[in-house]
Assembly symmetry: C2
Homo-oligomer: 364 residues x 2
C-alpha cells in the first residue's frame, strides 16, 4: 500500500488556484476547478480528484488544447431550458454555471434542464447534482465521455462510461447521492487486478473477440477488448446498462448537438474532446413542502436500514452514504492523497513554476 | 410451446371496452386501458398485456378495491410541474392524463414533470414515454411497484422492480425506447427456468440467506429470497441497480408524497396499492430543431450498428428496436396471445357477462 498524506483543504485550494492562474485561468474559475477536484478526493473518488489536475487539465491548457478562459456561450434559452456551448474550456467552469442556471430557472418554473456541448471532462458528476441540495432541490447531472464500453454484441469500445448522478436532500440521514458510471466497473479497477495478477469476475469486460473474460490483461479499451455495460453480458441484462449509457448520450450530446460515442475525445489528444453534459434541477416545493419530502426520505432510508440483512453483512446502505461518511472523516483529518499523486502534483507544479508547498498534516 | 392465436387489434379493443364499461369504467377510460394493454402484446411484452386485464384490473374493480371512475385530482401545479392524486383508479387513465399535461406544459416551457401518487399499476412504462414522440419530444416515464428486489446486502424483497422508460425520436431508424426494470430480470423469467428445471445464472436472485443462487426455486419474493437489482451481487455492481431503483422511488413516491418500498401493494390485496409515477417531457425544439436532433440520432445509431461485432453475433441493436420490429410484424399479422391467456380472457369475460368472442385470425 502506498502511504497516504493528508493536507489542509485550503492549502490544496491555494495550490490549484496558483497553478491554474499561472496557466491563464481566471482565479474565480480556478477556484471552481479546485472545489470539484478536492471534493472528489474528500469523498474517496481519487481517480477523479487532484491526480487529474495536470494530466486532464493543466497539460491540455499548456499545449493550447483547452481554452483556459472557458469562453462558454449561452446559445439559446427558454423559461425552463438552456443550451450552452462550452467553448472547449474547463468542463467544471461551464458545468458550474450551467447548474446555477438550472437552479435559478427551477426556482421559477419548478423544473429545468440545461445542456452543454463542446466542453471537457467535468470531474465527478455528483458535484453538480449536489449543488441542488442547498436549494431544497433534486439535482441531476449526466455527461458523456470517451469510449471505453462495448455495446451489447459488440467487441470494441464505442460508448462512454456515461455516468448518472442524482442528488436528493433528506433530513436526519445523509442526502441520497447516486453517482454511478453506466459501465459495470471503472477501467481503473480492472487495471488494479492486472497489477495484482488476479482474475476479475465475469461481467466486467470482454476480450478482443467480444467474449466474456476473467483475464484483466485482455481488456484494453481502445486497443483490444472493452468494458462491459452495467449488467455485464446479455444473459445478465448488460443491454440495460448499454441502454442507460445511450440515455445519457441522448440527453447530453444528441439534445445539445455535441459529439457522441467514438467522436468524443480523451485528454491525450490535441482535438477538442467535445464532451457534452446535461443538468436538471427539480424544485421540490413545486410539488410538496421540502420538510415533508425530507421526512419521507428519512422514512424510506429507515425502512431500508431496518430490513433483514444478508448472512454475513452488517449494514444496508443508501447511495452516497459511504462517501458522505468518508468525507466527514476527511474534513476533520485532512484531504488524503497517496504519495504517487503528491509526487505528480510536485512535477505538475514545477513545470509551470508553481511549487507544491502544501504542508503535510499527517501521514497514514 | 403453447400455441399462439392472433387477433385483430380492434376486436380486442372492442372486448376490453365492453368488459371495462360493464364494470363501471367510462368508455373513454376503457379505451386507454385497452391501448396500453394491447400495445404491450404487440411489442412482445406479454407479461404486461391482455393477460392482466382480469387479474390486475377487472378483479380489483369487481371487489371494490379499485375505483373504476378513476377520480384523479390535480393537487397542485406550476408552469412546468403538476402533482396528481390518482384516486386509487386505473393507473393507465391517470398516467395518460399526466403525460398529456406534461406534454402541454413542455410545449410552453421546454421541460416539465408530473408526479402521480395513489395510483395503480400502469402497464408498460414505455407507453407513456412514447406519447412524447409524436410531439417531437423526449418522454420519460417511471413508476414504483410492489417489492420484489433486495437492496444490496439485504435478503428480502424491499424494493420494487421500478422501471425506467425513456423515448427519443429518430429519423430513418426506429425511435430509441429504453423500457427496463431496474432489477436484473423479471420474476417471470425465473419462474420459467423453475418450470423447466434449469439453473439460472448467478446475478438474477438471492436465496433466503441473501446469498447468490443458481436455483430458481430458492427465489420467491415475499416468501423467501428476492430478485437482485441490475448488476446482480455487489462484486458486479448490483448497488448501481439498487441505486437506480431508489432514483425511481425518489422521483415517484417521495416527490409526490405517495407510498414507497414495502408499503406499495400488489394486485392481490384489498388495500389501495398506492403506486406512484413520474412523467417528464422535454421539448426538443427548445434546444435545437427536431430535424437536426433526429439526424444526430440516426448518425449515432448508424455508428453503433457499424461498429465491430462480437464473434458469433450478427447485429448490434438499440433499445426498443427488437420490440419495434416485432410490433411491425404483429400489426400486419394480428396481435399474438398464447392459448392460456385467451382462455383466461374467456373466463374473465364470463364472470362479468361479456363473452370473449374475438375472431381468431391465425394460429401459430
Amino acid at each position: 500500500m502506498e502511504p497516504t498524506l493528508r493536507f489542509n483543504r485550503n492549502d490544496l485550494m491555494d495550490f490549484v488556484i496558483r497553478y491554474m492562474t499561472k496557466l491563464g485561468v481566471p482565479a474565480e474559475d480556478a477556484k471552481i476547478v479546485g472545489k470539484v477536484l478536492i471534493c472528489a478526493d474528500i469523498r474517496g473518488v481519487e481517480s477523479h480528484g487532484m491526480q487529474r489536475l495536470g494530466s486532464y487539465y493543466g497539460s491540455r491548457i499548456s499545449k493550447g488544447w483547452l481554452d483556459p478562459k472557458t469562453p462558454y456561450k449561452l446559445v439559446n434559452e427558454s423559461s425552463s431550458t438552456a443550451l450552452i456551448d462550452g467553448g472547449n474550456g474547463l468542463g467544471q467552469v461551464t458545468s458550474h454555471k450551467a447548474m446555477r442556471i438550472a437552479i435559478e430557472k427551477a426556482k421559477k418554473s419548478g423544473i429545468s434542464a440545461v445542456t452543454v456541448r463542446n466542453s471537457n471532462h467535468y470531474g465527478i458528476a455528483g458535484y453538480y447534482a449536489m449543488m441542488a441540495l442547498e436549494e431544497g432541490m433534486i439535482g441531476l447531472s449526466l455527461t458523456n465521455s470517451q469510449p471505453l464500453v462495448a455495446p451489447t454484441y459488440g467487441r470494441t469500445a464505442v460508448v462512454g462510461t456515461n455516468p448518472i448522478a442524482l442528488a436528493a436532500p433528506s433530513g436526519a440521514h445523509y442526502p441520497y447521492l447516486l453517482d454511478m458510471a453506466t459501465s459495470a466497473v471503472a477501467y481503473g479497477k480492472i487495471q488494479i487486478y492486472e497489477k495484482k495478477h488476479e482474475h476479475i469476475p465475469i461481467g466486467w469486460g470482454i476480450d478482443e473477440d467480444g467474449q466474456a473474460t476473467n483475464d484483466p490483461a485482455k481488456i484494453k479499451p481502445g486497443g483490444h477488448g472493452a468494458l462491459l455495460p452495467l449488467g455485464g453480458m446479455e444473459i445478465t441484462a448488460g443491454y440495460k446498462g448499454y441502454g442507460l449509457a445511450l440515455l445519457v448520450e441522448v440527453l447530453c450530446s444528441i439534445l445539445s448537438g455535441g459529439s457522441f460515442l467514438t467522436n468524443v475525445g480523451g485528454p491525450g489528444r490535441p482535438e477538442p474532446t467535445g464532451v457534452s453534459h446535461f443538468f436538471m434541477a427539480i424544485n421540490i416545493e413545486s410539488f410538496r413542502p421540502v420538510f415533508d419530502f425530507k421526512e419521507s426520505m428519512d422514512a424510506m432510508i429507515d425502512l431500508l436500514k431496518k430490513s433483514p440483512l444478508a448472512v454475513g453483512r452488517d449494514e444496508i446502505m443508501v447511495a452516497g452514504e459511504k462517501e458522505f461518511e468518508y468525507a466527514k472523516y476527511n474534513q476533520e483529518h485532512g484531504v488524503p492523497l497517496i504519495k504517487p499523486i503528491v509526487e505528480d502534483l510536485r512535477k505538475d507544479g514545477e513545470k509551470v513554476g508553481v511549487p507544491f508547498d502544501c504542508h503535510v498534516l499527517r501521514e497514514d
